[in-house]
Each structure stands twice: as structure tokens, then as C-alpha cells.
Amino acid sequence: MILVDKHTKVVVQGATGKMGAAHTKRMLDYGTNIVAGVTPGKGGEKIHNVPVFDTVMEAVKTTGATCSVIFVPPYLALDAGYEALDAGISLLVLITEGIPPQDTAKLAAAVKAKGAKLIGPNCPGIITPGQSLIGILPGSIFKSGPVGMVSKSGTLTYEIALALTESGYGQSTCVGTGGDPIKGLDYQEVLSMFEHDPATEVIVMIGEIGGNAEEEAAAFIKKNVKKPVIGYIAGQTAPPGKRMGHAGAIISGGKGTAESKLEAFKANGVRVAMTPGEVAKQVAEAIKQPAKA
């Protein structure tokens, strides 16, 4: 597994909001080590029996949290991110959708300068099955196993994880990096972690149209990743010039097409799956051992 395990102490920023509260409950139910919530002005209260603090600084000081999952509204996210970072949080999981990308760029730069890590924004979060679920992923779909997953998309990740789980292939860790054009962790960083993670045998990389992150990742894989990588690209039939749901999912000026990404996969030794279902089959082949039921 990478990035998070059952020991990871998590603070929830925006824990008393509607979404924050609901997912705090779900994460707790899953077994995530949620140690604190943060909502300015609500310090001293409890949410699902977790103590709420006014500031991340107090939460970190009291609980020793190292990870923060952020559910605050989009225009407050930059400040919440800075707050977490400057309070010493080393892993920020930013779920919020609709953050102005210039804010994200500023936060990502600050995260980098501090040597911390940012997952998201506009992402489902991260799960190490059986240990820690940080974000909004549906825990029941995942199970522990040898497949490392990295993806720009939330529900598509669930779809593929479900197919894997139902085929008997559990996951080491799944990282949803988010659907925005400007974001924290990118494919390369996650791929590199999986390559060095003993619990990961096969890597599934899920991309989509827009940008050229998949192309760059493919080149990176050829050079740096020895473990088998299965790649899937969503939006193979998307029309150009239209934004397909995600802020980043757009083919513009002939760039960011699925063809380009799939070709880069093929050229760099990434095994291509054309449908979510095919991913599980490719994983089975890659592992080259009978799937456990």
C-alpha cells in the first residue's frame, strides 16, 4: 500500500457541514482513523463522537494528525489548504469540486515548496482497502489485494475496482487524483510509489481525454516502472471542443485525444484495456496466476 494505512491519523476540515458530516460517518464506519474535525467557531463540539476544533493547528497539536481531508466550499478551499499545510499536515486530500484553478495552482505550489503532498481537488480521495478510506469512495466495492490503481475519475474508478473485486483481484491502494486540469499528485508520482510498494503487483492507470498527462505518464512508465501497467482511457468517442463533465476533459486544438493517449500507452509498453470490464481480464493476464474467488 502507499500513502495511507490504518495508522494514518486523519483530520476532517469542514467536518460539521452536510457533506463533511456524512462522509466523516462513512469513513469512521470503514475504520479510518479519524481523530479530529475542524470547523471554525465549532471548537469543543463533537461530530460522530470525534472532537471538533476551531483550527487545524489545534487539531494537529492535540491529536498528532498528519493527513487532512477537506470538504470546505470551493472559495474557502485555498485557505483551508494553506491552513492544513502550515499546521504541519503532510498529506492533503482535497475533495471539493469547483475550486478556481488559479487557487489550486497556488496551493499546489505551496504544497510542493513544503515537501507535502496534495491529492485532488475534485477527487474521490484515496483508499487502502481494509485499512483506511479517506474521501468519498464507496468502501464496500474495494477489497485488499495486489492491484494499485490511479485514476482521474471517481465513479469510473469504482466501476473498475468493482470489476476487479468481483474477479477476485483486490487493491493495494487506489488513488483518485481528480478531474481538474490543475491538481496535486500526478500519475508519475503515484506510479513511482506503486513501483516501490511491495504490496503492489500490477498497476491500473485510468485516464481520460484532455491534456497530455497520460502521454507523459506513459513515457515515464517506459523508463521507471517495471511492474505491469494496464491503461484505460475514457472518452474514446467524445466529440472535440466539448467539455465532458470534468473541467479538464476536453479535446482542444486537436490535443488531448484518446487516440493520442492510447498510442502513447502502446508505444511505451502499457497494456491497453478498451472497456472497464477488460481491465480485470488484463490484470488477470498480468498477474499470470489463477484469480482467487
Binding site: 469512495l137 464507496p138 475514457a234
Partner: protein
Amino acid sequence: MNLYEYEAKRIFEAGGIPVPPAVRITKPEELAKVHFGYPLTLKCQVMSGGRGKAGGIKFAKDLEEGKALAKDLLQLVIKGSKTESLLVEPMVSIAKELYLAVTLDRERGCPIFIASAEGGIEIESSHNVLTEPIPFPYHPYVGRNLAAKLGLKGAVMAKVADLANKLYKVFESKDLDLAEINPLVITKGDDVLALDGKIIINDDSIGRQPAFKGWMEAHLVDMSPRERRAKMTDLNLVELDGNIGILCNGAGLTMATMDMVKAFGGQPGNFLDAGGGSDQKKTLAALELVNENPAVDVILLNILGGITACDEVAGALVEFMKKYPERQMVVRLRGNNQDVAEKMLAASGLKLYPDLEEAVKEAVSRSKNATKKPALAAKA
């Protein structure tokens, strides 16, 4: 949100960037109110690019010629975009044309200047394009470095540096995705001037940009009426030309479902991503939107609930099917609160497809058997 040239220039001007004097007209007679002398430039205000090549820019030597040209230009449709108005400006004596833009760079994850000593051209096809990452916090020397790298000298160098600094300020303070000046003109008198401008406002930021509130609807000119309606209610709809209406939660899953429909021989009638966390009301609105498309024969609903709760979707489905009982529906519904949703739907007799591939195949198969459109009359 894309702005028209005349809007972009107004914003540039407010940010201290020099632009030519200009008058916007929607009728040829309005040329009379032009307060600067001939010859004039008349420019179609359209969203699409390639305006010059399409004949959307003309020069008039006097009022008479101007009126005749204006009449033609106001009726011009460029790459499907109707001319909204004309921007009338005096002709400028150009010594040199540059290209200058600020945008966010996906790869570097930060804002960048894009600049070229060759302006007035398609930047994508230009050589000698500079891309300079922009530090945060911003400092004025960044503009000077850029101007120096463009090979400018003396007073012009200082003026372009100052203009670049102002362009970034506009980009940042107005939450833009793109602030582009093309061409940025150096006149024969060594003045610098934004001769044409393009601004894209970041859609997610409009809520904190009071000046742009309410602008959205009028600027969605490259969308169909239904796409526009979806956008205004926070749904992501892209209309396609097939007969399977696709509705999912989450962009990636919607794209994957669309790809599979095509892969299994079907024709998607639309892409509709209801987003994560949609409740009953929003899901119902999304269903109605797909349902309205007269080309759609089958609706394929694919929900994998993480942040979306299946029972909320089921509630919308129950309501929808009551209203449109004859609508062909293929539904796949899994994830959070799936058990509750299944109970809610049990009475309706609706078959649920737990497997995505099966659901897609069923939808494709039904779409091929749909020889005629089902009645769309609502019961209620």
C-alpha cells in the same frame, strides 16, 4: 465563459491596458456616431476563431462604404456563430505585431505567459513561442524579463513589460482561464496597443466575480438550447446524434458508458453527467432533459453511487416512470444505499442490470428495435 472581443477590450482597458478607441454598432446607421476619422476597421463580434479568413474584418474609407460593409457583416455567420455586433475602430499604423497571453498551464500547474514576436497569427502554428512560468506572488520584473526575452529594446521594452504586468493582474483579479492579446501592436509612434483581445472567464469562479454574474446564459452561444439549460442547472450535457440517451454520475463513468455504447454498436444520443451527489430533484431534472430529446429511443441510466445515494436516484426514477410510463429504460444502479433503492423500485417492475456491460448491451439492443418513437405524452 468566452467573451466577445469588445467585452475583453473593455476589461483590458479597465486594467490599464491601452486599446484603440472603439464604437460598437448593431445597425449600419449607427456608424454615424463614430467619433474618430476614416479609414475605419469593422470587425464582426463572434465567438469563433478564424474571423479574418472568413471575411469578418473589413476596412471602410468613408461612411458610405462603411454602411454597405456593415450591412453585410452584421449578417455574417462564421463557423456557425452569428455576428452579435460590429466593433468599429480607427485603422492603426502598425510597426510590429506581437502575441501575448496569460493562461494556466496544465503540465506545469501554474500560470504562464505565452508570447511571440510574431503576432496576428495562430499561436499554435507559430515558431518562436515563449512560454514563461509565472511565480506567485507576482513581481513586476517578470514582465520585464518577458519583454527582454522577446528581444524588445528601449521604451517599447518598458511599455510591453508594463502591459504584461497589467495583463497578469487582469488575469488574476478576474479569475480568467485565458487573457490573450493577438495582435499586440507596436505602432509607428512606438506606442503599444491591444488590437484584438480574447478572454475566457473561469466558470467556477463566476460566483466570486460579481461583475460577471448573470453573464453566463448570453455567452453560451456555441451550445444547443438544451445544453445551455443543463449548464445553467449545473448538469453537464453534450448532445450527440444517436438514439441512446446516456445519464450517469461522474464524468469518467459517463464517458466510459458512452464509449461502450459505441463499442457495442449503439449510437449515444447524449452525454449527461449529473455529477456526484445529485439528489432526487436534480436526477429527475436530468432524466427530463434526456427524455426531451426527440431522437432518443432508449434511456440508459448508469449510477455507481459513491457520493451519489442510490435511493435518491430511485426516488427520481419512480417519479419519472409515473410521468412517462412508456419510456424505454435500461437502469443500472449500484453503490451506496443500493438495497434501499432496490426495495423502492421493486413495485415498478423495472428490471435492474447489475453488470454495466449487460446494461449497455441491453440498451443497444433495444435502441435497434425501436422502429418508431415512443409516445412522449406525459401522464400528469
